[in-house]
Amino acid sequence: MAAMTLLSARGLSRSFGGLRAVNNVDFDLAEGEIRALIGPNGAGKTTFVSLLCGRIPASSGRVEFLGQDVTDLPAHKRISAGMSYTFQITSVFANLTLFENVALAIQPRLGNANLDQAIAAALTRVGLQDRTDQIAGDLAYGHQRLLEIAMGLGQQPKLLILDEPTQGLADGEISAFKSLIREVAAHTTILLIEHNIDVVMALADRITVLNFGEIIAEGKPDEIHANAAVQSAYLGG
């Protein structure tokens, strides 16, 4: 199966002061796959995906998305081109209603037309349809994470980057999340930063392991499971 490459990075690096948070990473993502990005705390996962979507400018290296070099594009243009990024620390618009939150995600696509139905549909997918007029900041933490995901889905991106989406979710919510992602994966490529190893094993087609800003392993879930380098990175080698 020669899937198209959706996104690729070459020699991607970023340093903060003297610290190399991401060091010379080559990375390819095929269209349609679910890729998990794992690694110990401080491995540079969030920095790495931030470089991909342009939240943080790269110190060096290139990023290609849909066959186009996007390295010099600002974040908002990469998003318009079809990326979506949901924040690790929940960052919905806390003072606005759920309606407004999702509207902001959807309106670049639809304008003001048919917005109501589209918003209702997006909220229904994550099970928040009854809370449309609530203020987002009043939601429980788990519900705010779901709202984030609804916003990401509402953008109908080609690439959905989820930064620790299950953090703070209850078990029931996690299984709902898993089936949601499987459903979405039918027409969206997903890059998932995740700590919950069960979620990773259940969802990922392939897994990339990052440690000290470098890729130390990449492969199918069972391969990664057996990988000695990964074991030592997690257990402290």
């Binding site: 979507c53 908002h76 998003i79 924040f87 407004e100 902001l104 304008g111």
Partner: protein, 311 residues
Amino acid sequence: MNRALALHIGLIAVLFALQFTLPAYHHGNLARIMVLAVYAMGYNVMFGYTGLLSLGHAMFFTAGMYGMGMATRLWDVPVGPAFLIGVLAGSVFSLIVGILALRTKGVAFMIVTLMFSQATYLTILLFNDVTRGDEGFVIQQAKRQVAGIDLSDPGNRYLVALALFAIVLLATLRLVRSPTGRVLVAIRENEDRATMLGYDVWRHKLFAVVMSGTIAAAAGAAYGVLFGTVGASFAEVPFSILALLYVLLGGPGTVIGPFVGTLFMFYLRDISSSFTDAHLLVSGIVLVLLTLYARRGILGIVRERWLKWLP
């Protein structure tokens, strides 16, 4: 959703009806309040909706006022076209200021706008042979005519002020309920998140500044035409702070808030002037009290408690 539109048209209707019942003194005051409220509504687009706290909004009011005033004084342009020149001057000026000042954020943005505004004021003083500096100048009654209508007549003046007020009120209402207005609010609430939804934050901010500056310039030009005075005191720091005060008091991020704030503040100063000349004292006290106890302003509180749908 249309109760919001009804409310705003209702306000315009009430203001229209009041001209027949108000005594002359308050009739004159209300005309002035409506023009000042336009100035505040302009400020509200930038501060209330987009979250850009400028301390120099007087410079845009002044650009409109002097753009209009200079055109009539130096080149004898009739006040109608001169008004448009004033508005245009405000647009261009706010575009330039916006491009420069929007490189900064927060406190730096406040100081940069304050400095630009102060430089504008000083520039008026510097060229006092054409601007008449601190004294300002009067636009003669003979010149304040548009299509045979005498704008210095209190009745006409009230109607023109109301027309401008109504246009800007409905335009702001339309703006804030449009997708663009939603993005402005998103930028105010969380700039980073707005970027990550694919919005060009910088361009939206610049739009807000130009929109805001243009409306303020329209207020400045109209003030000159309707009340016949063009003066440097409108360029001074306290006049910038007045815009902030009107909006903070009425409710930042509400369409009618600026009008309510202007109305209250105007009469507060009017009443206090009977026992003290230090009118800035009232501004100072209200400013401190608002920052301490009522950050959402009058209509902000109304919206929070009772009318959740208030735009």
